[in-house]
Amino acid sequence: MTVESIFPRLEALLPKVQKPIQYVGGELNSTVKDWDSTDVRWALMYPDAYEVGLPNQGVAILYEILNELPATLAERTYAVWPDLEALMRAEGIPQFTVDAHRPVRAFDVLGLSFSTELGYTNMLTALDLAGIPLLAVERGDDDPIVLAGGHAAFNPEPIADFLDAAVLGDGEQIAIAISEVIREWKGEGSPGGRDELLMRLAESGGVYVPKFYDVDYHPDGRITRVAPNRPDVPWRVHKHTVMDLDEWPYPKKPLVPLAETVHERFSVEIFRGCTRGCRFCQAGMITRPVRERSITTIGAMVENGIKESGFNEVGLLSLSSADHSEIGEVAKGLADRYEGTNTSLSLPSTRVDAFNIDLANEFSRNGRRSGLTFAPEGGSERMRRVINKMVTEEDLIRTVTTAYSQGWRQVKLYFMCGLPTETDEDVLGIADLAKKVIKAGREITGSRDIRCTVSIGGFVPKPHTPFQWASQADHETVDRRLKALRDSLRGDKNYGRAIGFRYHDGKPSIVEGLLSRGDRRVGAVIRAVWEDGGRFDGWSEHFSYERWMAAAEKAGVDVDWYTVREREENEVLPWDHLDAGLDREWLWQDWQEAVSGTEVEDCRWTPCYDCGVCPTMGTEIQIGPTGKKLLPLTVV
């Protein structure tokens, strides 16, 4: 049965909405396959605006891999802005894909990639517009399997009632495996309906089906246990890890949008995973172990990506890009290859040391030296020991003065506020550090024309990290410390003008905290917020703290209990049945060491500290050096 495009009906609405080009599809390298000659069909959603969702690497990789399977089709869908949502409701137009403008409900799977919890309300809008019942238990055989992935899926409990399934970890191989299970089941005539398909997925141990698990609670609200409610459903669900990234050199055909998006560049993931062991960092904990792409694969991917896309910027992505074992060779090789071609190279997520300045110099060889960003994260030495961000004040000053002396005029320093054990003095330490940076910079350059910007993010404790048991700072405390910090910076006659200050108020972090460490009871809050008009919660102009608090009250959910309450060692956490490979005892011990200010080394270079991932998951660290070099390209 062929599925009609809704585009003719949508087209009549487009003159009435903002940025209509985001809804028309037709991106370079996008794929439209014939519906009838495929048998497994995925709608992939990034639950935010097109301009944020299109550059997302996860969705782009899965889109390409699934479309490479001959009998599988994948299209993309994004959150529509409220102006179009209202028109679609008035005209009865369903949530659609941008590739062939097919209604999302016609697909076999709606796969959502959650980088952040603040996309949950957008998922409900999409389901509702699609005509798919919000609650998984109300869905029938004609509805797609609603499947979540991405970092936020490591605790999908707050959205468990809305999901049919969730997948943890790297998506490449499991997406193909799920397609195979669906193909087989459909080929047999879809026996047993939706539930049998979900059972087949659940039995594998690699797909979490929330409705096959019951959660029991103590009278005080803590969880007693999470247990499967059917035989053959495993007690724990494991994350997926792709080994040998050289075997998976995606994206090969980068999507190039017509609309403007947040990242206008071709991105190559140069490694996955990070074992620096920063205790606040969920990404670093759940993506272990480190798996590098080789210098030759990186070179080939960059060459192909520029040719296929026409982008003039290349980003080398990872959680800490300067940690690649051959990053120096990669930087030099790429800078040589693209010298004089107006192709710029960027290296986000770098650490604080002088080696980075050499890299940055290499990358900016043909361009300007504008700004460098470093992330000490904590304002005092003590604070940095607690979070295991091993940067001394001496390191920082030396690094930054090197940068200033080599012509960089602007340095951005990134910190967090609200960290466990943090005091007012720790936060005020950020001001002292910034002033010392400017003072040292003025001395070495002999110029007053240097600047530094202090940028502050609110800390939110995340599942599967040593801080999963921690008390989150309340927003009053965070706001008070930020105000004191601002006063200390602004009030300084000598340095105040040389230091920029960027921060947000503490309230959005509380909502993020509720959603990050929430359990199934938080789902009622998300639904109530959505019913009250909550959309695009990651956007400050749409986010309403008051709406979330009112919804929590209505749902009988005590926000403080989920956020500022510290958990005991033996409390069952809502995500304990979801296995990121991390040994719970190791996490607890690391939490205790955090409180006492004890640091832990990186297992790439010092003996293993037994986080548990490699033995549990059957994985291993994969790093170079390979000793290879990038040769000049014959034709650039």
Binding site: L258, N312, N342
Partner: protein, 255 residues
């Protein structure tokens, strides 16, 4: 430095591209096609590509123009094929000539527009057009970035008619009859756009089409004051060089 003048079309769903969307798409297409585009000097070099009088977002066009500076001599026919092959379908390169004398922007004196009004009443349209043309001035208001702005929409309109016998269909509402307006409007400041003329028709005769119009720019170029016809703005360049494949202004090219 050789300069190439390019006529391109913006068709179908690509009419929803904004001017900025098009400039990004062209820059990327130029890179993919390997065209030796020149860059500006200075702190942050930009490719030397300039755009003349871009049609608004949501408006299709058969006659948009841009100019590319290249570092080594290029054959216009080759550039036409390469650039067209690298742009997404719907942004279609129609003509490329080597620039000779004068500025291109100065030659774009007026535009011819085709405006399709699905579901509108033909007789009401005729009456409104007659009233509009009979008026000395028709003051309209448009919301600009600087707030509401009032200006005359009548004087710049050199021709306005409801042609007989034209194909009366609109892309967005297949099967439904549609009124077509053809107009030639001089480029003035502030710009008078087809939707300003439609606002004028509403003001003089209460003529209000039920759905948003489908607007296409058919041509733009130098104005022959005696006939009111538009000439090919690349004609002057073509006369003095070997030129590309000629397509006269106003002639539609199938994509």
């Amino acid at each position: 430095m050789q300069r190439l003048r390019v006529r391109y079309a913006k068709r179908g769903r690509l009419r929803f591209t904004s001017h900025r969307d098009i400039s990004r798409a062209v820059e990327r297409a130029v890179r993919r096609a390997g065209i030796p585009v020149a860059f500006s000097a200075g702190f942050s070099p930009h490719p030397k590509i300039s755009y003349a009088g871009a049609a608004p977002t949501g408006v299709a066009s058969e006659a948009e123009y841009l100019e590319i500076g290249v570092t080594k001599p290029c054959e216009p026919g080759r550039i036409r094929a390469d650039l067209d092959g690298s742009l997404p379908p719907g942004l279609d390169v129609l003509d490329v000539v080597e620039a000779t004398v004068g500025g291109l922007a100065d030659r774009l004196e007026a535009s011819e527009w085709d405006v399709r009004l699905p579901g509108a009443d033909w007789e009401l349209a005729e009456t409104a057009v007659a009233k509009f043309l009979a008026a000395e001035a028709v003051e309209v208001e448009r919301l600009t970035k600087k707030g509401p702005r009032r200006f005359d929409a009548r004087e710049a309109v050199l021709r306005l008619e409801v042609p007989e016998g034209a194909d009366r269909t609109a892309a967005q509402v297949p099967g439904q009859s549609c009124v077509i307006l053809r107009m030639v409007v001089r480029h003035v400041i502030p710009a008078v756009r087809p939707d300003d003329v439609l606002t004028g028709l509403r003001l003089v005769a209460d003529f209000a089409p039920p759905v948003p119009p489908e607007v296409t720019r058919l041509a733009q170029g130098p104005l022959d004051a005696s006939t009111g016809a538009l000439a090919d703005p690349l004609g002057l360049d073509r006369d003095t060089t070997r030129g590309g494949e000629a397509v006269s202004a106003g002639e539609q090219v199938d994509g």
